[in-house]
C-alpha cells in the first residue's frame, strides 16, 4: 500500500502549508510601522474618486516641496473595495486616499488610517472647517474634509414658471403640490428626480428627506428613529415611494443612480427638480453648456421642510493616510496643501478656469468659501455659503457608526424594493429598523 502512504504524506505537507498560510495571513496585527518620514524627493500615490487638480497646480506643489504626486482616479465603489482589500491584507496601495464621511466610524474603529492630529493642527482646523467634526472617531481625526459637499434642493425655475408657479415652495407640502401642478399642466411628464437604484445615493436621498421632515435617522446609541408611522423617517420613505407610485418620478428611475439622474434627467431638462441634489451641481454641471441643456435655468432652493426651511445634510469628501502608506509624512504635507484655503478657492473657480479642479464642489474651509463668494465666482455662492453656515448638519451627529455600510445597504435595498412594489413601505421600514437594531446591540 505504498500509494496510500504517499498520499498521506501529500496531505500532511498540504496541511502544514495551509496552517502556515492561515497563521501568516491573520497573525499580522501590526499597524503602521513601515512608513518613512521622508518628505523630499519622494513620489506619493493619491487615490481618490475624482479627477485631479490641474497639472500646473500639482507641479507647483512638487516644485515647492520636492514631493511628486501620482494621481489615481477610481470610481467610488471600486475605491472602497480597494481600501478594504488593501487594509485587510495589510498592503500598501496609496499614500493618501478617500475617507468618506459615511465610513469614518468603520475606518476609525478598524484603525486603518493614521490619526491626522499627529500631522496637522486639527484643533485650529476645526474652527475653520465646520465639517471636521464628522471626521472624528474615538477621539481621533481619521481624515480631513477637502470639500464641503452637502445636500440641497435644486429646481428648474423655467419649468416651474411655465407651470404658472411664481413663488418658490418653502414647505414640503407646497413643494409636492407644485410638482403635481407641473405634471398636470404637462410641463414635465415626470417632474421629480429620485435615484431609486439600489445604491448609496438612494440612502443619502432618504437621509436628506428625513431631515426635511424634521427628523434624524439614528440616536446616539445607533437605535432607529424612524420605526413608527408618524416618525419623520417613515413619512420621508412614504413620500418618496408615493412620488414614484403617483407618477411624479420617471418609472425608469428604478434603475437610475444619483449622478446618472442628475446628468441625464436634471441637466437635460427632463425633470424639474431634484430634492436631494449635491451642492455645487448648478455650477459644475447644470450651467456647463457641454453637459447641460438647461444653462442658467436651475437654482438652489432652501430645503422645503415641514414648516419652512429645513436642514441640509452634509456629505463631505475627506482624505486620509492609510496605515500602510509608504510616505505618511509626505502625504500629510500633500493633504495640508490640498486642503488649504487658497487652493480650495482656486479649485472651485476663484482664480479663473485654469485652476479649477473638475467636479469640485465647495471649499471645506470658511475662508476659502468667503474668498470664492467675494470674488463672485461661484454660481449661487452667497446662498450656498449661507446654507453651509446656517443649516448644514451631519447626518449622524455622533459620527457614522462602524457598521454603517451594512446599514446603508439595508436602507437602499429596502427602499428600492418598496419603490418597485415588491415590498410595502411598512415592511421596508421594518427591515431597515431591524438591521439598525441588530447592528447596534
Amino acid at each position: 500500500m505504498t500509494a496510500f502512504r504517499y498520499s498521506r504524506t501529500v496531505y500532511l505537507a498540504g496541511a502544514l502549508v495551509l496552517v502556515g498560510a492561515v497563521a501568516t495571513g491573520c497573525g499580522g496585527g501590526k499597524s503602521g510601522s513601515g512608513g518613512s518620514d521622508k518628505t523630499t524627493g519622494v513620489t506619493i500615490t493619491v487615490a481618490l474618486a475624482t479627477e485631479p487638480p490641474p497639472q500646473a497646480s500639482i507641479d507647483a506643489f512638487t516644485k515647492s516641496t520636492g514631493i511628486t504626486v501620482k494621481w489615481t482616479n477610481t470610481d467610488w465603489d471600486s475605491l472602497q473595495t480597494k481600501i478594504a482589500a488593501a487594509a485587510t491584507a495589510k498592503t500598501y496601495f496609496a499614500d493618501a486616499t478617500d475617507v468618506d464621511w459615511s465610513r469614518v466610524g468603520q475606518l476609525g474603529k478598524l484603525n486603518w488610517f493614521y490619526p491626522m492630529e499627529n500631522y496637522l493642527d486639527t484643533k485650529a482646523l476645526a474652527a475653520e472647517m465646520p465639517q471636521l467634526t464628522s471626521f472624528s472617531s474615538n477621539g481621533h481625526v481619521v481624515g480631513i474634509p477637502y470639500d464641503a459637499s452637502f445636500l440641497v434642493t435644486t429646481v428648474n425655475k423655467k419649468l416651474f414658471t411655465k407651470a404658472g408657479i411664481s413663488t418658490m415652495p418653502t414647505t414640503i407640502d407646497e413643494y409636492t403640490a407644485d410638482l403635481k401642478q407641473i405634471k398636470s399642466k404637462n410641463v414635465a411628464q415626470y417632474p421629480l428626480n429620485i435615484p431609486f437604484a439600489a445604491a448609496e445615493g438612494l440612502s443619502t436621498y432618504w437621509y436628506q428627506t428625513t431631515a426635511a421632515f424634521g427628523g434624524t435617522i439614528l440616536d446616539g446609541s445607533g437605535k432607529p428613529q424612524f420605526a413608527t408611522p408618524d416618525s419623520p423617517g417613515y413619512r420621508a420613505a412614504q413620500w418618496m415611494v408615493d412620488a414614484i407610485k403617483q407618477g411624479l418620478v420617471p418609472p425608469g428611475n428604478i434603475n437610475v443612480a444619483d449622478s446618472q439622474g442628475q446628468q441625464t434627467l436634471m441637466a437635460k431638462g427632463v425633470v424639474a427638480s431634484t430634492f436631494a441634489d449635491y451642492s455645487g451641481n448648478v455650477g459644475s454641471l447644470y450651467s456647463v453648456p457641454a453637459s447641460s441643456t438647461v444653462v442658467d435655468q436651475v437654482a438652489y432652493l432652501s430645503t422645503p421642510g415641514v414648516g419652512g426651511a429645513g436642514p441640509n445634510m452634509s456629505n463631505p469628501d475627506g482624505i486620509g493616510i492609510p496605515r500602510q502608506a509608504k510616505y505618511p509624512a509626505a502625504a500629510a504635507k500633500f493633504i495640508d496643501w490640498f486642503t488649504n484655503a487658497q487652493n480650495q478657492a482656486d479649485f472651485a473657480g476663484a482664480s479663473g478656469p485654469d485652476k479649477v479642479m473638475p467636479g469640485y464642489f465647495l471649499p471645506s474651509r470658511l475662508a476659502g468659501m468667503t474668498e470664492l463668494t467675494e470674488k463672485g465666482k461661484l454660481i449661487g455662492g452667497q446662498q450656498l455659503a449661507d446654507l453651509l453656515k446656517n443649516s448644514a448638519k451631519p447626518v449622524f451627529p455622533q459620527g457614522a457608526p462602524s457598521w454603517y455600510p451594512e446599514f446603508s445597504k439595508s436602507v437602499y435595498t429596502s427602499l428600492h424594493a418598496a419603490a418597485t412594489g415588491s415590498m410595502s413601505v411598512d415592511d421596508a421600514i421594518k427591515a431597515m429598523a431591524g438591521t439598525a437594531n441588530k447592528l447596534s446591540s
Binding site: 498540504g14 502549508v17 496585527g29 474603529k109 437604484a197 457598521w403 445597504k409 428600492h416
Partner: protein
C-alpha cells in the same frame, strides 16, 4: 467526462491507467525523477494559489474572522446560522435558484435546437459555428454593457422595437421593476454567453450518432420529429449532461451579469454577490467564507445529480 473528438486510439491514463513510453522498462526499479520535474511547476501553482486558498476558505468558515470584531476565533457553526437568519441571503437564494432553473433549461433547450441545426454538413456551416461561438468568447463585463443597450428603459433596443411594432404603447422598465422579469432579463444575458458551449457539447454527441440509425429510421417510416425524439435526444444524452453540468456551475456562481445590470438590488442579487458584499462591505470574512463553502457544496451536489439523472453511457 470527456467527449472524444479526435480519431485514433485513446489512452486515458487516469482513470484507466495505461501508460506509454517511459514506463517501467529496464530502468523500472530506479526512482524516476523526470515526471516529478515535469509536474512540479503545476503542482506548486495549484498548491499555493488554489488548494491553500481553498483550504483557508474551508477552515476559516468555522471561525469568526471579522475585521470589526477581532481577534479571529473559532465559533463553530455560528457563521452558517447567521447566513440562514439573514433575509438578504434567503432572497438571494431564491434568486439564484431561479437563475439556475432558467439558465440550465434555456441553455439546454437552445443548445439542442442549435446543435440539431448544425448536425448535418451544409455550405457555410463552419462560418455559422464561428458566429455561434462569438458570445462565448466575450468578457462578461462588456456583455453587461452590450445588454444594457438592449434592456434600457430610455434608449433600449427592445423598448424601441416593441413600441415601433405597437406591442407596447410606451417605454417599459425591464430591469429592477418586477423581480421575475428582472431575473429573466439578467439570466438571458448569461444564457447568451453559455449556449455556444452547450451547443458544441451537444453537437459533439450528435456527431457520434451513426447515420445507419437514421437510415433505418427512414425505412421504418419515421417522421423527422420521431427521429429526433427516439434517436437524436436519447443518444445525445452524454453531451446534454455535460452541457447541463457546465450550466449548473455557471449559473450557481453568476456574478458579473446581475452586478453590472442590476447593481446590488435584492431583485437580482445572487449568492456569489452576497459573498462579495459580506466580505468586502461588512468585512465579515468568516461569514463570506462560509457562504462560499455552501455554494461549492451545492455546485458539487447539483452537478452530480444532473450527471446521475441524465448521463447514460451510450454504446453502439
Amino acid at each position: 467526462m470527456t467527449v472524444g473528438t479526435h480519431s485514433g486510439r485513446r489512452h486515458d491514463v487516469p482513470p484507466t491507467g495505461t501508460a506509454g513510453p517511459g514506463r517501467a522498462g529496464p530502468r523500472g526499479r530506479r526512482f524516476d525523477l523526470l515526471p516529478y520535474a515535469l509536474v512540479t511547476p503545476l503542482a506548486l501553482f495549484i498548491l499555493a494559489l488554489a488548494l491553500v486558498p481553498a483550504g483557508v476558505t474551508i477552515v476559516q468558515s468555522f471561525f469568526r474572522v471579522d475585521e470589526l470584531d477581532p481577534p479571529t476565533r473559532f465559533n463553530g457553526l455560528a457563521n452558517f446560522r447567521d447566513l440562514f437568519a439573514d433575509g438578504a441571503i434567503r432572497s438571494s437564494l431564491v434568486n439564484t435558484g431561479l437563475y439556475v432553473v432558467i439558465g440550465v433549461l434555456l441553455s439546454t433547450v437552445l443548445g439542442i435546437v442549435m446543435a440539431v441545426t448544425l448536425q448535418r454538413p451544409f455550405r457555410g456551416r463552419s462560418i455559422l459555428i464561428a458566429v455561434l461561438i462569438l458570445p462565448w468568447a466575450l468578457p462578461g463585463v462588456v456583455e453587461g454593457l452590450v445588454w444594457t443597450g438592449i434592456w434600457d428603459a430610455n434608449i433600449g433596443l427592445l423598448n424601441s422595437v416593441l413600441t415601433s411594432t405597437h406591442l407596447i404603447s410606451h417605454y417599459q422598465v425591464f430591469l429592477g421593476q418586477h423581480r421575475f422579469l428582472t431575473i429573466l432579463a439578467i439570466e438571458l444575458v448569461q444564457v447568451w454567453q453559455m449556449t455556444p458551449l452547450s451547443t458544441l457539447l451537444i453537437l459533439a454527441s450528435l456527431q457520434n450518432i451513426p447515420s445507419e440509425l437514421y437510415e433505418a429510421a427512414v425505412l421504418d417510416g419515421c417522421t423527422p420529429w420521431q427521429a429526433l425524439r427516439r434517436i437524436t435526444l436519447p443518444l445525445a444524452r452524454p453531451g446534454i449532461a455535460i452541457a447541463m453540468v457546465q450550466a449548473v456551475i455557471a449559473t450557481l456562481n453568476v456574478f458579473d451579469q446581475p452586478y453590472v445590470l442590476n447593481g446590488s438590488a435584492d431583485t437580482g442579487a445572487s449568492l456569489t454577490m452576497q459573498t462579495y458584499f459580506i466580505s468586502f462591505q461588512n468585512l465579515d470574512f468568516g461569514e463570506g467564507y462560509a457562504l462560499s463553502l455552501l455554494i461549492t457544496v451545492a455546485t458539487l451536489i447539483l452537478s452530480l445529480g444532473v450527471v446521475k439523472l441524465v448521463y447514460r453511457q451510450v454504446e453502439f
